[in-house]
């Protein structure tokens, strides 16, 4: 029962919807999960997100909040005193740093991964996946610096950057299936290998990341639908 009057308009395949779901899970919040079919957008959806017409949208009572990173911050702020862990750090500089890396991931990781997966020619694919490898090297460095030797970017617990990055895990596994190369190079990014395992098996995340095989099917259908 959704006692908080929360609805999430999302899609199981969308890393951004997954991100919002993980945040809701960390904060122990019940919500109604409404999966949008992007080809026949519901009235609720169109009313709630007039500018971008994209998922996810969080509906809290009569309020609609769009953009996954903004949804995460909203959830963290509204329920900051409900006894569950905070998602963002408390120190202003650390918060700025977390937001910076979150934005970096949504720019560099998202684009190189998506462009690599759906590029039509081999040269483009190679170029995008090389860029992705650079991004992962950089994130390995960030993890080593920010974790203080603990499991997550947020330290002992999953934090903002963990969610920002972790929501892409299933899509990185799709890339693994397509290319035959491991998502995280064990030699170059050993910390990320450990982090991915810790993230995927964390109680707050369990059951939310889409299964790789299902996502592979979805990705193949998307690729087939691209006009040549």
């Amino acid at each position: 029962m959704a006692t908080n009057d929360l609805k999430l308009l999302g899609g199981w395949f969308s890393p951004f919807a997954v991100r919002a779901q993980i945040a809701l899970s960390i904060k122990g919040l019940d919500y109604e999960n409404i999966v949008e079919n992007l080809n026949s957008k519901s009235d609720l959806f169109l009313q709630s997100n007039p500018v971008y017409k994209k998922i996810p949208v969080l509906i809290h009572g009569d309020k609609a909040i769009c953009e996954s990173a903004i949804i995460v911050e909203y959830i963290d702020e509204v329920w900051k005193n409900n006894g569950t862990p905070s998602i963002l750090p408390s120190n202003a500089y650390d918060r700025a740093s977390a937001r910076f890396w979150g934005a970096y991931i949504d720019d560099k990781l998202y684009n190189s991964l998506r462009n690599g997966l759906f590029a039509q020619d081999i040269e483009s694919k190679k170029k995008h996946f090389e860029e992705l490898a650079e991004v992962l090297l950089k994130l390995e460095d960030v993890l080593n610096k920010s974790s203080g030797g603990k499991d997550f970017f947020g330290g002992e617990k999953i934090g903002f950057v963990d969610i920002a990055f972790g929501c892409y895990l299933s899509w990185l596994r799709v890339k693994e299936k397509f290319t035959g190369e491991k998502a995280f190079d064990e030699a170059k990014t050993p910390s990320l290998v450990k982090w991915a395992e810790a993230f995927a098996t964390d109680p707050a995340v369990k059951g939310i990341l889409p299964e790789t095989d299902k996502l592979v099917e979805y990705a193949l259908a998307m690729a087939a639908a691209i006009p040549k």
Partner: protein
């Protein structure tokens, strides 16, 4: 007034950049003293490369030796660090809306207007159409509020400095009429409130110099 106990605030910026100017405006609104260094992106300083190795861009705020990059992120940092004259509401929903509109300005609205002003013959019609659509989005959002933040100037207003000031200069150089009183009366009215705000007025770069700067770029 901000406390000035051994606090060092530095801004690495570019005087003609609206993104850099956002930080000047925020620091001035909060009364925070700071040192400014003008960066030449064709010849990047060691400090710029040290403080923003990922993007190598300005603005960069350096507070007691700690660098913060990306203008919207810097604005939130400033608001959280110096609590007078708040730029964001305390209410989480108002904050979410402000963040959404700032992001929409950067991701959708500014690029559409910028592209229209620099478009060539071929792409012009479509670019102008998109710019006008972008301005319509703002017109629908501002409604009859004095500022995007309500009665007082806030984060979104600062993020919209490009709309309040730069657009007029760029559209004149491009020979376009994008933001006018006739087409977008509410945004136009907001822009007048914005540039006449006592702190903003002093914080914006001089119009003639900005015009000359972009006119020179247009001739290249």
């Amino acid at each position: 007034m901000a406390t000035a106990n051994q606090e060092e605030v530095r801004l690495l910026g570019k005087w003609a950049s609206p993104f850099s100017n956002r930080i000047d405006l925020a620091l001035k609104l909060k009364g925070v003293p700071y040192k400014y260094s003008e960066e030449n992106l064709a010849n990047k300083s060691d400090d710029l490369l040290k403080y923003n190795p990922v993007y190598k861009k300005v603005p960069i705020l350096v507070h007691n030796g700690n660098p913060i990059a990306e203008s919207l992120i810097i604005l939130e940092y400033i608001d959280e660090t110096w609590k007078n004259n708040p730029l964001l509401s305390e209410d989480p929903y108002e904050r979410a809306l402000a963040r959404f509109w700032s992001k929409t300005l950067d991701d959708k609205i500014l690029p559409a207007i910028w592209n229209a002003c620099w478009s060539d013959e071929k792409g012009r019609e479509k670019a102008v159409e998109e710019a006008l659509e972008a301005l319509k989005i703002l017109e629908d959002e501002i409604k009859d509020k004095k500022f995007f933040g309500g009665e007082t100037l806030g984060l979104v207003d600062i993020a919209a400095n490009f709309i309040g000031y730069w657009v007029y200069i760029l559209q004149e150089i491009a020979g376009l009429e994008l933001l006018t009183l006739e087409k977008f009366p509410k945004v136009y009215k907001w822009s007048q409130e914005f540039i006449n705000h006592p702190v903003i007025k002093e914080g914006l770069p001089p119009r003639d110099e900005l015009f000359a700067f972009f006119k020179a770029s247009a001739s290249k």
